[in-house]
C-alpha cells in the first residue's frame, strides 16, 4: 500500500501486483490443488547469523523472484518517530558501498527486472523479479545493502521530500485518502504502537535525523531480524551456496527490543467524528477487534468477512447498496494494509460506506447492525458457508497465478518471519475445514459485539485541503 514507487500510468506491468502460482513443480500440475490441497515444495534454512532463507524452486517461467522481509514496520517503529519505518524504506534504495551507482533500482532495471519496497504493520519488505540469469546479481545487490547501505544527509533530505509528496498525493490532497486505514485504527486502538499515524506526522518526519536512520538500521535491518525468500527458476543447492557467500558474513545484529503491542480488551463502543475537507459526501466506517491470528475463530472471521463484504453476494452490499441504495459500495476487510495472513498482532475487521447526504449516519449504522445481528442470532446455512469458502479459495489461488510470484513469496516470508514455519502455506486450507456454522455463530457473538466496536463518521468539509503544517499540529495533538 505504501510503496517506494508508485505504479506508473499507462504501464500495465506493475498494476498487476499479485503473482504467479507457478510454485508447484510439474508433477503437481496433474493434481490440481482442489484434489488434495495446495502443495508448494519449499526448502527452509537458517544461516549461522540467523538469516532465515526460504527457497521455492519452480521452472514454469524463466524468472526469479527475490524478497527480503525485515521484522520492523509501522506497528513497532520507535515511539515519537511516527512514519520512520516508511521513511527508512525509501532511504534503503539510495545505494550501498559496492553499488554506489547505479543505485539499487537502476541496477535491477537495467538487467530487465523490477524491484519495489513497501512498509506494512509488522514488516518492511523489498521485492523484485529478474530474468533467471540475473538472480545472482540481484542477491548480491540485496546483500550489499543489508551490509552497508548508503545513509547520508543528502539522500535523507531528498527522500524526506519525496515522502512528504507521497503523503500529499495519497492523503492530504485526496478526498477519503486516509479515513479507513489511518484514522480508523488511530481511534479504535489504545496502545500507541497500534494507534499512531503510520504514514507519519509531518512534524515527526521533519524532526528525524541521519543519526536516527543509522541507529534504526543497526537495530532492525539485521540478519537476525530478516527473512530472505527466493522463488522461481533456479537450482536450490547452487542458490543456497550463493546466498551463504553473499549474506553469510553479515553480523547477526543486536538483540531485538521487547515491545508490547497488545491491545487491552475493549469494554464499550467508541464513536468518533472526523472532517475530511475534500470529501463531498459523508462516510461511515465500523471496526471490530479480531480474534488472535491462527485460532479457529480467526479462520471463522475470515469467512465472516467473505459473507459480509466480499463479492457480489456480500450481505452488507446486498442490503445497503442493492436494496436501499444508500451508497455505491461497501468496502472493508481484514488488514487493509495487507492481507489476512501478513500481520502479527492485534487486528481490526473493518467495513465502510460513502453514503448520500440525505441518509443520516444513524440510519446507516442501523442497517449495518441489522445485517451483523442476523449473523449473531442463528447459524448460517451450509450453502452460505460453502460459498464463503469457495470465494476465499478463488481469491487465494488467483494470487498464486501472477507472473511476479509476489503473492506467494509474501506468504512464505510472513509465515517464516512470524511463525518460523513457511510450510504453513500448504496448510492454509486446513484452517477453513474446521469452520462450522456453529463456530461462525459463536465467533460473531463473541467478536461482533457493539462493545468491541468503533464507529467513525466522516463529515465533508469546505473543499480546501488542510494546510500541511496545520494538519501536522492537529494530528500531533490527538
Amino acid at each position: 500500500m505504501i510503496s517506494a514507487f508508485r505504479s506508473l500510468a499507462g504501464f500495465a506491468l506493475l498494476l498487476c501486483a499479485g503473482l504467479c502460482a507457478s510454485l508447484c513443480v510439474a508433477p503437481v500440475m496433474a493434481q490440481p490443488a482442489t484434489d488434495d490441497g495446495l502443495h508448494i515444495p519449499l526448502r527452509y534454512e537458517r544461516l549461522d547469523n540467523g538469516l532465515r532463507v526460504v527457497l521455492a524452486e519452480d521452472h514454469t517461467v524463466p524468472t526469479a523472484t527475490v524478497a527480503v522481509y525485515y521484522g520492523v514496520g509501522y506497528r513497532n517503529e520507535p515511539r515519537g518517530m511516527t512514519g520512520f519505518a516508511h521513511l527508512f524504506e525509501h532511504l534503503f534504495f539510495a545505494g550501498s558501498d559496492n553499488l554506489p551507482e547505479p543505485v539499487f533500482y537502476y541496477y535491477i532495471s537495467n538487467m530487465g527486472g523490477i524491484a519495489n519496497g513497501s512498509t506494512r504493520l509488522d514488516f518492511t519488505n523489498y521485492f523484485g523479479v529478474v530474468p533467471a540469469n540475473a538472480l545472482d546479481a540481484y542477491l548480491w545487490a540485496e546483500a550489499d545493502r543489508m551490509a552497508t547501505p548508503t545513509i547520508n544527509l543528502q539522500n535523507f533530505q531528498r527522500e524526506r521530500d519525496v515522502v512528504r509528496n507521497e503523503i500529499f498525493v495519497n492523503v492530504i490532497n485526496q478526498p477519503y485518502g486516509d479515513w479507513t486505514w489511518i484514522d480508523l485504527p488511530m481511534v479504535a486502538n489504545e496502545n500507541w504502537h497500534n494507534a499512531h499515524n503510520f504514514y507519519g506526522d509531518l512534524s515527526d518526519l521533519d524532526a528525524a535525523t541521519v543519526a536516527d536512520a543509522r541507529a534504526f538500521f543497526e537495530q532492525y535491518y539485521t540478519p537476525r531480524n530478516a527473512v530472505l525468500v527466493v522463488a522461481g527458476s533456479f537450482d536450490s543447492d547452487d542458490t543456497l551456496a550463493t546466498i551463504n557467500r553473499f549474506f553469510g558474513d553479515i553480523p547477526a545484529g543486536p538483540d531485538l527490543p521487547d515491545i508490547d503491542v497488545s491491545e487491552p480488551p475493549q469494554r464499550a463502543e467508541k464513536h468518533s467524528v472526523m472532517t475530511d475537507p475534500l470529501a463531498t459526501l459523508p462516510g461511515l466506517a465500523i471496526a471490530y477487534h479480531m480474534p488472535e491470528r491462527g485460532t479457529p475463530e480467526y479462520f471463522a472471521m475470515i469467512l465472516i468477512d467473505q459473507i459480509l463484504v466480499r463479492g457480489g453476494n456480500a450481505r452488507l452490499r446486498r442490503r445497503l447498496v442493492d436494496d436501499l441504495g444508500y451508497g455505491t459500495a461497501v468496502s472493508g476487510g481484514i488488514n487493509l494494509l495487507g492481507n489476512v495472513f501478513n500481520y502479527d498482532g492485534p487486528m481490526l475487521w473493518t467495513a465502510s460506506i460513502i453514503h448520500d447526504d440525505a441518509i443520516a449516519p444513524d440510519a446507516v449504522l442501523g442497517e449495518f447492525d441489522t445485517v451483523i445481528e442476523a449473523l449473531r442470532q442463528e447459524p448460517v446455512s451450509a450453502e452460505t458457508l460453502a460459498s464463503a469458502r469457495s470465494k476465499f479459495l478463488t481469491e487465494f489461488y488467483s494470487q498464486l497465478d501472477y507472473s511476479t510470484r509476489f503473492g506467494v513469496v509474501d506468504l512464505l516470508a510472513s509465515f517464516a518471519l512470524f511463525d518460523d514455519d513457511p510450510g504453513r502455506i500448504n496448510r492454509i486450507e486446513d484452517g477453513f475445514e474446521q469452520v462450522t456454522p456453529d463456530l461462525i455463530l459463536e465467533t460473531a457473538r463473541t467478536w461482533l459485539r457493539p462493545e468491541n466496536r468503533t464507529v467513525l463518521e466522516l463529515v465533508p468539509g469546505d473543499g480546501r485541503p488542510v494546510a500541511a503544517s496545520a494538519r501536522s499540529a492537529e494530528e500531533a495533538g490527538q
Partner: protein, 468 residues
C-alpha cells in the same frame, strides 16, 4: 548438514582475504548469465456462426479459470450521451433471464467468483474468475448477463444514483479533474474521447429507454470476443460456450469512429485553493499502436518518463524530491494515440518542475542517448514483457489489445525483437517528431495564488494560449 560446513569454510576464506573488516562483503558484482528464452503459451480459438470469436489460453497452475467477454460497446459509442455505456454496463449487473441479481450473485459466489462489468473507452468487459470445475456453469451465467438483461425499471433509479455519486467523488479528486480537462483539449467537446465525465444534470436526464436503445444498437456477437484463461477442460468449455452464446444475434456492425488527438500550444490552469501539490498533465498526439514508429516511441517513453529509472523520475524525484509519482505513457486509441507525462509536484516547485521537464525533453531531442542507457531501457522492456504475459489476466489483456486494434497474429511474438531493434538515434527522433514543445497541451490543477505567476512566466507557457 552440508550447507553448514560449506558456510564455515567460506567464512574462514573471507576473513583471510579481508582481515579485520566486520561484515566483509563480496565486492565484485557477479556476472549475468545468458538469457533464458520465454515463449508465450499456445492459444487455440474458434468462431461461432454468429461471429463471436473465442480464444482459449491454457496457463498457470492454480485450479481457477478466468472468463472475459469483451464487447465493443463502450464509451466510444456514447455519442453525446457521456457515460451511457457505463449506465448500460451497470444495468447488466441488475439481473438477467428473469432472475434477480441476488439469485445470480449467490450462484456465482458458490463457484467462488463474482460477475464484474467494466466499461472502458473501447470495450465493455464482462468477466469472472471461478474454481476450475465450475467453468461451464460460469459461462452460462455470464451469457445470461450479456444476452438477457432484465433492465428492470424498479432498479434503474438507484443504479443511476450510484453513478451520480461516483462521478461526484471523482470530481473531488485532482487527478480526475486534470484528466477531464486534458482530454477535452486533445479531442474537443464533440467526440466521446473528449468527454470523460458527464455533467450531473446530464446523467440524471438518462432514462431506462436510453439504456435499452444503447444495448440494442451496440451489443451483439459480431462485436464481441470471449477469452478463457487458466486451468479448464477445453471440450467442456467449448460445448458450454456454443450452448450459451450460439443464439446471440450478430447485431449491428461498429459505427463509432475514433478521432485523432490535436496538439496545442494550449495551457489550462485550474484553481484548487489550498492544494499542497499541483497535478500536471503534459501531452502531445502520437501514432497508432500498429505504426512503424510505435516500438521506438515505447522505448523513448521508457527512457524519458515511463519507467522508474527514466530521466524525468531521476531528475524530478531522485535528484530534486519535487514529487513522489512522476510518470509517462502512450495511450492508444482507434485513430492514433497520445503521449502524456503526469505528476503531482509540491506547489512551490511547480514552475521549477516544469522547467526541468521541458529541459529533459529538449535534451533528448538534441542529444542521442548514451548506448548503455538505451540498452538498459531495451533490456527492461524485454524483461517486463515476460511479467506482462506470464499471468492469466496479463495474457487476456495483451491478446485483447492485439485483437481490438487488429494487430497481426504474431504481434506479441515480434514485440521484443522490435523493441531490441530500436536504435539509439530513433529514441531522439521520437522526441523530436512527437514532443514539439511549441505544440504542447498542458493542464495544471493547483493553487493558482501560489503557482500562477511563476507558471505564466515560463517561456513555453507564455507562447501558448493560456486558459483559466
Amino acid at each position: 548438514m552440508s550447507i553448514r560446513i560449506f558456510q564455515a569454510a567460506l567464512t574462514a576464506a573471507s576473513l583471510a582475504l579481508l582481515p579485520g573488516l566486520a561484515g566483509a562483503q563480496v565486492s565484485e558484482q557477479p556476472p549475468i548469465g545468458d538469457p533464458v528464452p520465454f515463449e508465450l503459451p499456445e492459444t487455440t480459438g474458434f468462431t461461432l456462426d454468429n461471429g463471436l470469436e473465442v480464444t482459449f489460453i491454457p496457463f498457470g497452475l492454480a485450479p481457477t479459470v478466468n472468463i472475459s467477454l469483451q464487447v465493443r460497446a463502450a464509451n466510444i459509442d456514447d455519442g453525446s450521451q457521456t457515460f451511457l455505456a457505463d449506465l448500460t454496463g451497470a444495468m447488466l449487473e441488475e439481473g438477467s433471464a428473469g432472475r434477480s441479481s441476488d439469485v445470480i450473485a449467490t450462484e456465482i459466489a458458490a463457484m467462488g467468483g463474482a460477475l464484474n462489468v467494466g466499461v472502458g473507452r473501447h470495450t465493455t468487459n464482462i468477466s469472472t474468475g471461478v474454481l476450475s470445475q465450475y467453468g461451464p456453469d460460469a459461462v452460462a451465467l455470464l451469457a445470461d448477463l450479456a444476452l438477457r438483461p432484465n433492465f428492470d425499471d424498479s432498479e434503474f433509479e438507484r443504479v443511476r444514483a450510484n453513478l451520480v455519486r461516483d462521478v461526484d467523488v471523482q470530481r473531488a479528486q485532482p487527478g480526475s479533474i486534470a484528466t477531464e480537462a486534458y482530454a477535452r483539449i486533445l479531442f474537443g467537446p464533440d467526440h466521446p474521447y473528449g468527454n470523460t465525465l458527464p455533467g450531473e444534470e446530464q446523467l440524471r436526464g438518462y432514462e431506462l429507454s436510453d439504456v435499452q436503445a444503447f444495448y440494442a444498437t451496440n451489443y451483439g456477437a459480431g462485436r464481441a470476443r470471449l477469452y478463457v484463461a487458466g486451468h479448464f477442460d477445453a471440450a467442456a468449455m467449448e460445448a458450454a460456450i456454443r450452448d450459451a452464446f450460439g443464439a446471440w444475434a450478430t447485431g449491428d456492425a461498429d459505427a463509432a469512429a475514433g478521432a485523432p488527438a490535436s496538439g496545442g500550444p494550449i495551457v489550462q490552469l485550474i484553481d484548487r485553493p489550498g492544494a499542497p501539490q499541483t497535478t500536471i498533465r503534459l501531452g502531445f498526439p502520437a501514432m497508432a499502436i500498429g505504426a512503424d514508429d510505435a516500438p521506438a516511441m515505447t522505448v523513448m517513453n521508457a527512457l524519458l518518463g515511463g519507467s522508474f529509472t527514466s530521466r524525468l523520475t531521476r531528475n524530478l524525484r531522485e535528484d530534486k524530491g519535487y514529487t513522489y509519482s512522476p510518470g509517462s505513457g502512450v495511450t492508444w486509441t482507434m485513430e492514433g494515440g497520445y503521449w502524456t507525462f503526469n505528476a503531482d509536484v509540491t506547489a512551490a516547485d511547480t514552475a521549477a518542475a516544469l522547467r526541468e521537464t521541458f529541459g529533459e525533453i529538449t535534451r533528448l531531442q538534441s542529444e542521442t542517448p548514451p548506448a548503455d542507457e538505451a540498452d538498459g531501457m531495451r533490456n527492461w522492456l524485454a524483461g517486463i514483457f515476460i511479467l506482462q504475459n506470464a499471468s492469466t489476466g496479463g495474457l487476456i489483456g495483451q491478446l485483447g489489445q492485439r485483437d481490438l486494434y487488429g494487430l497481426p497474429d504474431d504481434y506479441l511474438d515480434q514485440y521484443v525483437p522490435n523493441i531490441l531493434a530500436v536504435s539509439d538515434e530513433d529514441i531522439s527522433r521520437m522526441a523530436r517528431d512527437y514532443l514539439p514543445l511549441d505544440q504542447m497541451v498542458l493542464v495544471l490543477v493547483g493553487d493558482l495564488a501560489v503557482i500562477g505567476d511563476d507558471v505564466r512566466a515560463l517561456p513555453e507557457v507564455a507562447a501558448a494560449e493560456v486558459r483559466e
